[in-house]
């Protein structure tokens, strides 16, 4: 799966979880915490949905390192490779 496809699917999950963000442009540089207003529990929700969607597991110790959408895409891409 290409990086662009992962990003699009990730954005899809975020929009499903937080419909209010649909009008916001999300890019790999988007900082999840400050740019989207997604709090730590919201982040758990997104990660759980992404893990289920891509059938992967990102260790909990890594979660706090995922600051931008690009970081999330990286983490997913590494596990799909």
């Amino acid at each position: 799966m290409s990086r662009e496809e992962i990003l699009e699917k990730t954005k899809g999950v975020i929009f499903d979880c937080f419909p209010d963000l649909k009008n916001q442009e999300l890019t790999e540089d988007t900082v999840i915490n400050t740019d989207t207003g997604i709090d730590s529990m919201g982040f758990v929700l997104v990660i759980c949905k992404l893990e289920a969607l891509f059938d992967i597991r990102i260790p909990e110790r890594q979660w706090k390192k995922l600051q931008t959408l690009g970081d999330v895409v990286d983490a997913i891409a590494r596990r799909l490779a």
């Binding site: 400050t34 529990m41 758990v44 929700l45 909990e60």
Partner: protein
Amino acid sequence: MRFDSFEQMLSHLAETAPDAPALRYEEKTLSFSELKQAVDARAATLRAEGKTCLGLLCDGSLDCVVEIFAASLAGLQLVMLNASLDTGTLRTLVRYTDVDTLWGEEDLKEDLELALMEGVKNGAGKILFFTSGTTEQAKAVVLTDYSLCQSAWNGSAKLPLSPADNLLCLLPLDHVFGFVCGLLWGLSCGACVSLGRGARHYLDDCDFYRPTAVSVVPMLLGFLLKQNCLNPELGLVLVGAGDCPRELLELAEARGLHVCFGYGLTETSSGVAISVRGDPFAMEVCPDDTVTIAEDGEVLIQAPTCMMQGYYKRPDSTHEVLRDGVLYTGDLGCIDENGLLHITGRKKDVLVLPDGTKLFLPDYESALMKTLEHTELAVILIHDRPALVFSGEATPAALSEKLRPLMRRLPRGNQIAEIIVVHEPLPRTATGKIKRWELRQKVTDHA
């Protein structure tokens, strides 16, 4: 029932209810007799190894719980560590607490091996929990299995569970509220404790374990309610370890849940007051504790059975808050005409300005948030003047312009004197409180 030690609690339950379920984790269940056997066997191994101070990298698993009780029975000093902290911080904590052996994930243990120390003398019965460090650098609070058992009894005297109950433990065990109210509370009442399977299972743990009671922090309660993942058998929710919006408790009660709110500190081995009926913010003081209010509104606690021994290797810090058996909590509160405790704020969230006026930060920051339509901000003192730290994308000039109408309504000394924009999230504790000490440090370092 009141127990004086983990050993006494486990022995009693293994004798009186040997086949009753004690712990559940994933598909596995341990009865009280099986739990006692597992703990005894592991304690024997630990004794044979001859170590004196165990750093426990908590993962909340069944083995983790067995290790906690076994280390205590074997006479080791036990240090409860949050395994999700970065390795550098964990190394510092391991050194500070004299850990000479570790339990936890193998990779992490390897990373920490070089930090191991020579252990301790006279550590038996001591269990160290770290404070959340909301306003200062985290400190290790020295508790004991005795104080923790008393705390569990203290809470259950107000809010008992029955052996038929199934308590879901979703909170980390390295947090004293999670340990006492998520684990010991259930076990000491002879109830089954279901151990949560980590953050990725917040959505389905209730469905999986079908608990009748759960202990949560406010943020987690909000999440569970919003995602509608509470099971119908669930009747009792104990909320603690942080300020909880009234709307959230009302929402939970509207769903038929009995919601209780607890107040306590790591220094008092968890809860000292709890609401059991009526207004969830009007709390009855637990039987072993005495709460008084100082002239300036500070909540003072005497808790002879549950009080900490002190902060580990920090006698000066201990003396600052604990004098003549009285804990100066730094929280503000009042006692109503019915003798119920209400917490109204945090003394340490009050900024005292050079002209003697005080800024009550929750109110002040709330006004700033409303004006700026942004919640990721904090006010700290820089050069004795209030400074706004804003986390996000904006320029100080634009923020200043937006704040102008609000500032015009405030006394000059209370007005924001400096705006600092940062692009990383504000440092927060596990319960969402801003770590002001760390924030101040970061901002100062930047300058």
